[in-house]
């Protein structure tokens, strides 16, 4: 028996390896670094690793762009410009996500439970909180998840695809359960995510098994090549086998991007998970999963015959339409801001699907730009959510104020924050001069190019509905007076606002704000139920970057479009 050791081009693997290695180091840090400095070390390491990944992608860029691809061991790891593009997006978004995750507001707490394993509401948990413990394990977990995301779109090997899926999912399941507040809700979210996620991955795995059964290989391209060339080692049951397999794989991927009808987990999980994680998940997972889906679907489209290809297209049409409708219609009736954003993310999954129904490079370009634009806006939006908190009568800051009614009049408490949030919402709505507009333009162009203009029309209509719920939220923040104002015009707003929102613009509608001010001290000090916390820097940086990014991508998108155009090329099926 001869064994030939494979030659591994480590450089090609570097974007993924950097992140995963840092995750491993992070675990060791957990083991050995004293807890005082652990958080600082972890944050630095995590950010460094992600930056390193971005750098690695940049270094690889020219090479991959020139050659069209780079791979390791028969496509086990396969970089195309598109893949690299997705990796870049994921890594950049992950950096921003980590910034939000690492943020501690002025309360000194981050969003994570001091000991995630403790039973909620026990003295043990209280003791942990009082001891100022922190679950710094989240950083390695985030790194592992990111590593999985980087790997997810970058393989031709179906089993690696599956493993990447798990590597990205498993840490997320755990991360979902680590919220500091609303522990039960958080654990429940993790639980649901876990059950449904594993279910979907099991389905996908079975699909992979079927494809393997058909082709005798797990290389997607080879499998399709075999399909196109009868006479290979094809089982006689086939090609039903491979069609079922492909279908199941697609279902698994659609689940991950949260496309209807596999979207049910999204609102629950997004709502229950700690908000920074939700942001990270919403932005990065979607980017990675869409990357993988595009890769798989495009490869399929190259290998399938005309009829099957049409069927696939029809299926994607149905998914896209359903997803857009579900996302926008259900989103319109939500009363919780996180759920609302979750439904928005479902709708965006639909728009993304619109982009690649035609299997064109234009579509891939649109996808790349879209995930970047969407990711920035989503991350920013969730980052803002982390800063808007409830407080009790004594001014103790509680969990996030996610109910929409709490967001009324936010612009008065924190005009800049509200402005940023509005900007993100506008971008998601696709208003011109924001990134979202260019993104949607690209998506609909791609659809029309591919002859799917009815889809583009549905997309446009769905956008119109979606605008409604984004605008509703903006109205609430900017135009609706805060709840206490609504009750009585002279309510003691000032007592609350003093420290948090000094730049408060008193409402001049009829009543004299000055009167309210003089009355305030005389009343019992009533605190508003909602408070906007100032960040300790990280989240602010993330929000600012997201906002600047959204605007830049909206006003001068050329650079990003060029980049996406350069990246949106696919290697043809190898003969």
């Amino acid at each position: 028996m001869e064994f030939e050791a494979p030659v591994i081009d480590w450089a090609v693997l570097s974007p993924v390896l950097v992140v995963l290695a840092a995750g491993v180091v992070g675990v060791l840090i957990e083991a050995f670094v004293p807890d005082r400095v652990r958080r600082a070390v972890q944050v630095v390491l995590t950010l460094a690793a992600l930056v390193g990944s971005v750098v690695a992608v940049a270094l690889l860029w020219d090479r991959v762009a020139t050659d069209g691809f780079a791979f390791v061991v028969n496509g086990t790891f396969l970089l195309t410009p598109f893949t690299l593009g997705i990796q870049a997006v994921v890594a950049v978004l992950a950096i921003l996500g980590v910034l939000v995750i690492a943020d501690r507001t002025r309360t000194g707490d981050d969003a994570f439970a001091p000991t995630a394993a403790a039973v909620p509401g026990t003295t043990y948990e209280d003791a942990a909180r009082e001891a100022g413990l922190q679950q710094t394990e989240i950083y390695p977990l985030v790194l592992f998840a990111t590593g999985g995301m980087l790997l997810f779109p970058a393989t031709d090997n179906l089993i690696v695809l599956f493993i990447a899926l798990e590597v990205l999912s498993l840490p997320l399941y755990v991360l979902c359960a680590t919220a500091r507040r609303r522990r039960l809700l958080s654990q429940e979210a993790a639980f649901k995510y876990f059950l449904l996620g594993s279910f979907a991955s099991a389905i996908m795995l079975f699909g992979i098994a079927l494809v393997y059964g058909f082709a005798g290989t797990v290389s997607l391209e080879t499998a399709l090549f075999r399909m196109a060339q009868p006479g290979g080692p094809i089982l006689e049951l086939m090609p039903a086998l491979v069609i079922a397999g492909v279908l199941l794989i697609t279902v698994g991927l659609l689940f991950k991007i949260g496309a209807a009808p596999f979207h049910m987990w999204t609102p629950d999980v997004y709502q229950g998970a700690p908000t920074p994680i939700t942001g990270f998940m919403a932005a990065c997972v979607k980017a990675a999963a869409v990357g993988a889906l595009v890769r798989v679907v495009f490869t399929l489209s190259l290998g399938l015959d005309e009829e099957l290809r049409r069927n696939l297209e029809v299926g994607l049409w149905a998914v896209a339409i359903l997803t857009m409708l579900v996302g926008t219609v259900a989103g319109a009736v939500q009363t919780d801001v996180k759920r609302l954003l979750a439904y928005s993310s479902i709708a965006h999954a639909g728009f993304l699907t619109v982009a690649f129904v035609g299997f064109s490079e234009t579509g891939a370009q649109a996808v790349l730009f879209y995930v970047l634009a969407y990711g920035l806006a989503t991350l920013g939006a969730f980052a803002v959510v982390t800063l808007v908190r409830e407080q009790d009568a004594d001014g103790v800051v509680l969990g996030e104020a996610t109910h929409l009614s709490h967001w009324a009049g936010l612009a008065r408490r924190a005009p800049w924050l509200a402005a940023a949030f509005s900007l993100f919402l506008l971008s998601m709505a696709g208003i011109p001069l924001t990134a979202g507009f260019i993104a949607k333009f690209g998506v609909f162009s791609a659809a029309v190019v591919a002859g799917a203009w009815p889809l583009a029309v549905v997309g446009v209509l769905a956008s119109a509905v979606a605008v409604f719920f984004y605008v509703r939220l903006i109205v609430l923040m900017v135009l609706t007076p805060p709840a206490e104002d609504a009750e009585g015009a002279q309510d003691a707003e000032v007592a609350t606002e003093g420290q948090d929102a000094p730049d408060l613009a008193a409402d001049g509608a009829g009543s004299s704000a000055a009167a309210g001010r003089t009355l305030a001290p005389a009343r019992t000090l009533r605190r508003a139920p909602v408070v906007v916390l100032s960040s300790r820097g990280f989240a602010t940086v993330a929000i600012v970057i997201c906002a600047v990014g959204v605007v830049l991508l909206g006003v001068v998108p050329q650079l990003a479009l060029d980049w996406a155009g350069q990246a949106a090329s696919f290697r043809p099926v190898q003969p």
Partner: protein, 119 residues
């Protein structure tokens, strides 16, 4: 002959024996009903209700179970490698050492964090 057939034969005999023994004692043995005899044993006091199912065990046991799974998988991967050690040679060794190192990392983590400290 398939080498697994003898195993099946042995299994059959073992099953017959296992079942037969219990059946035999059930048939031969005396039957004298006594409620106290059928109670759970607890040093003569009334048995704790809900020992089964509702009983909660220290979290350490779960921890051990989870750690075990990680290591068991490791061992499973070691066996084929060990058998083909000579063939795989340096590459196999390097891969396996990396693999072992990666497995050791969580092990070290758990150790440091007191995962193996009973009491």
């Amino acid at each position: 002959m398939n080498p697994y057939v003898p195993v099946l034969v042995l299994m059959g005999i073992a099953a017959v024996l296992a079942l037969g023994g219990v059946a035999a004692s059930a048939v031969i043995g005396p039957k004298r009903y006594n409620r106290a005899k059928l109670d759970a044993y607890e040093c003569g006091i009334e048995p704790t209700p809900l020992a089964m199912g509702g009983g909660r065990l220290p979290i350490k046991y779960y921890l051990v179970a989870m750690t075990f799974i990680v290591f068991d998988i490791e061992v499973v991967f070691l066996y084929p490698w060990a058998v083909d050690f000579v063939v795989l040679a340096g590459f196999g060794l390097a891969a396996m050492v990396i693999f072992l190192a990666l497995i050791t990392v969580p092990f070290v983590y758990e150790w440091r964090r007191g995962g193996f400290d009973w009491v």
